[in-house]
């Protein structure tokens, strides 16, 4: 893509015989993070994506990020400043940035914006998210095979669709190998609160759970499980160093390929405002390497489930599906539509806890 500066300089460059490439400015790409980068968690995975983008594109891009940006009134100022400062493509990586991003995109029609996990788009604002629940289903199979009690503990932040999809998919995965499995849920009402997450995990373990997992941002659950000697399955990032003996695996996010693809699209002029909801198939949802405690047969089975989900032959929300009250939500022989998955606000049979 030629920037205006390149166009203006091109004739001059020709005259003094400087190769045109030398005056082509790098594409400037900025990321807005909701929390500090840290060394694990939601923001850390986006940061890994940014670093991969840097490594893959070299001098063609110049990336930067702003961390710990509040989702309230501050977000709009930060996004606006990034756009005014000359960034060409801006990724805003938390749901609460939706309306601010939309507003800023409206005032900078020449720039491109991408908002993670939202649903509002415009000519120059695309959206993207991942089917985290696909990894959750496979993790449920893993938990089901490794558990003795058939009771799972789930530390969850907020009852929004993304979290409910995960809890339901995990439970369905576990029930596919142990029909009596139940999942107990404790809400923390915070994405990042190591103290509360720790207390919730302790409560769940005391209540008989022998595999715990979480949809929160810290490493507290893996650490609690390691201390108590029960298994854990981590979320967001590989947390094996926080649970060397007990952290069975982790459902991880990988945004690298997506970020590289979108930046290339801007560079070659093919960028369009689209909605991307990738999963196992696109490599956006993955499982971290298995712990040594996972037997070979289970590894093969879980890897097989992942492969089947990636190939589309196994759908986590395939019927027959009943909610907690036994009401049929998806009849046998059908799979849930994407729209219904996106708006999910109920628990499947087998989950203990209320929304």
């Amino acid at each position: 893509m030629l920037s205006r500066r390149t166009l203006m300089l091109a004739p001059a460059a020709g005259l003094i015989a400087v190769p045109a490439k030398a005056v082509t400015a790098a594409l400037r790409v900025a990321f807005v993070y909701v929390s500090p980068v840290g060394d694990a968690g939601w923001t850390f995975q986006h940061e890994l994506g940014r670093r991969a983008l840097d490594a893959a594109m070299g001098a063609a891009v110049r990336t930067s990020f702003v961390e710990n940006v509040e989702e309230g009134a501050d977000a709009e100022r930060v996004i606006r400043k990034l756009a005014a400062d000359g960034n060409d493509l801006i990724f805003t990586t938390s749901f609460g940035y939706m309306n601010p991003t939309l507003k800023v995109a409206g005032s900078f029609p020449g720039k491109k914006f991408e908002h993670a996990t939202g649903y509002k788009r415009s000519v120059n604002l695309a959206t993207y998210s991942a089917r985290f629940y696909e990894g959750r289903y496979a993790a449920g199979v893993l938990a089901g095979r490794m558990s003795k009690s058939g009771i799972f503990g789930y530390v969850a932040a907020f009852p929004i669709p993304e979290v409910l999809q995960g809890i339901n998919a995990f439970t369905l995965g576990a029930r596919s190998v142990n029909p009596k499995a139940t999942t107990k849920v404790v809400w923390t009402s915070s994405w990042f609160d190591p103290g509360k997450e720790r207390a919730a995990a302790d409560t769940l373990i005391a209540g008989g759970a022998d595999v715990v997992t979480h949809h929160t941002d810290s490493t507290a659950v893996a650490q609690a499980a390691e201390e108590k000697g029960v298994f854990s399955i981590a979320y967001n990032s590989d947390q094996s160093k926080y649970g060397p003996k007990t952290c069975l695996s982790a459902i991880t996010h990988d945004w690298s390929a997506y970020y590289i693809r979108r930046v290339k699209a801007v560079l070659d002029g093919s960028w369009k405002s689209i909605d991307t909801w990738g999963g196992v198939k696109e490599g956006m949802t993955k499982l971290a390497p298995f712990n040594a405690a996972v037997p070979e047969a289970v590894r093969k089975e879980v890897a097989g489930v992942m492969a089947a989900i990636g190939a589309g032959t196994r759908k986590p929300f395939a019927g027959p599906l009943a909610d907690q009250d036994g009401k049929i939500k998806v009849p046998a022989g059908q799979a849930m539509a994407d729209k219904d998955i996106a708006e999910m606000k109920w628990f499947v049979d087998g989950v203990q806890g209320k929304i």
């Binding site: 009134a73 930060v78 990034l82 649903y119």
Partner: protein, 354 residues
């Protein structure tokens, strides 16, 4: 070393002390920037000057200072009467909720929606402060604890509302309310900026606060209750009334701050509507020495530090923690300068007379 109160603080030092403190903090910041391998002058420029380089920067400064000023002013009036409202964050939240309820209930009914939204915001915040006042005067439950704890209650209520009764039915079950209609929103003061009339309201509290505290009988009573409760009782000044007055006033102002955020730059109710304005208001109140004009300066300084911190991240790629260190240094130097203006250090070898 011990500190001895000066008989009279030097008038020149009262003005110079903050200037010296800012310069010391600037030197400290420059050293930090150099240690991080950045150009110190460019970074100082980014921190203090660049955010105000254009009209939009001033607009953002006003936007950021407004809630700080409103929260701090109420807190300061209370502290002068020895009534400690630590829970402006909760009153801010309840004000936002009450205003949002009116905004969503009335929709685009007409010009009268916005005044009602603002009144509801003030009432919501005052009511939340009133709960603490009632518990203090009725059950003698201390307001420090009660107001702080009620903040967490308010935040949980907000979280429940945006996932339940006030959730946007077309919002794919995300935790947020519908956007407010135009007639419920504060309009920007000028085209292209985000600062609203809320800034004017906040600025009006500066002369109002000064008159209340220093020129009225009511303010005199509050100060007597705060400084000498025994004398106040003897003079027949009711402590009860002071508690009610302070908590209703500071609650109302915090509520106004809250409703002006949701009916201004945010435009809807969502789980995170405040980056801790209510708590930062306590720092602002004390940084401003509990005096209205001082609070105005303190609020502007805090707002500038927020903006400058963002700029440092964006243009210099400095980590957020570096900004935190600089903010901490500045507050430390300001408070230290304050101490040495009011007190004289005495160095003595004998330990017996201390």
């Amino acid at each position: 070393m011990r500190l001895e109160r000066r008989a009279a603080a030097s008038a020149a030092m009262a003005v110079l002390a903050p200037v010296i403190a800012v310069m010391l903090a600037g030197l400290g910041a420059a050293a930090l920037f150099a240690a991080l391998g950045r150009d110190p002058l460019a970074c100082l420029y980014t921190l203090f000057i660049a955010p105000l380089a254009d009209g939009n920067g001033w607009s953002e400064l006003g936007l950021k200072a407004t809630p700080l000023l409103l929260c701090a002013m109420g807190i300061a009036v209370g502290v002068r009467a020895n009534v400690w409202n630590i829970g402006a964050e909760g009153q801010f939240t309840m004000g936002a909720i009450a205003g949002a309820a009116v905004a969503l209930g009335l929709g685009d009914a007409g010009w009268f929606v916005l005044p009602l939204v603002l009144v509801a915001g003030v009432a919501g915040g005052a009511a939340w402060g009133g709960v603490a006042a009632w518990l203090r005067t009725r059950c003698n439950a201390h307001e420090i604890l009660v107001t702080l704890m009620l903040s967490y209650v308010a935040i949980q209520i907000l979280g429940w509302l945006v996932r339940g009764p006030m959730q946007d039915p077309e919002g794919f079950n995300f935790p947020q309310s519908p956007m407010f209609a135009a007639s419920a929103m504060l309009a920007p003061l000028f085209e292209g900026g985000r600062v609203t009339g809320a800034l004017v309201l906040a600025l009006l509290t500066v002369p109002a606060g000064a008159v209340l505290l220093d020129r009225t009988v009511a303010g005199y009573r509050l100060r007597v209750v705060g400084l000498a409760p025994g004398a106040a009782r003897y003079a027949g000044f009711s402590e009860r009334r002071a508690v009610w007055f302070c908590l209703l006033l500071s609650g109302g102002l915090a509520g106004l701050a809250g409703v002006c955020e949701v009916a201004g730059p945010i435009g809807q109710l969502m789980p995170s509507i405040s980056p801790g304005y209510g708590f930062a208001g306590i720092i602002v109140a004390f940084l401003g020495r509990l005096r209205p004009v001082g609070i105005l300066f303190a609020a502007v300084l805090m707002a500038l530090l927020y903006l400058g911190g963002e700029s440092l991240q964006i243009t210099q790629q400095l980590p957020l923690a570096a900004t935190g260190v600089i903010q901490g240094m500045l507050l430390l130097f300001l408070l230290a300068a304050d101490v040495f203006t009011l007190f004289r250090p005495r160095f003595s070898r004998s330990h017996g007379d201390g």
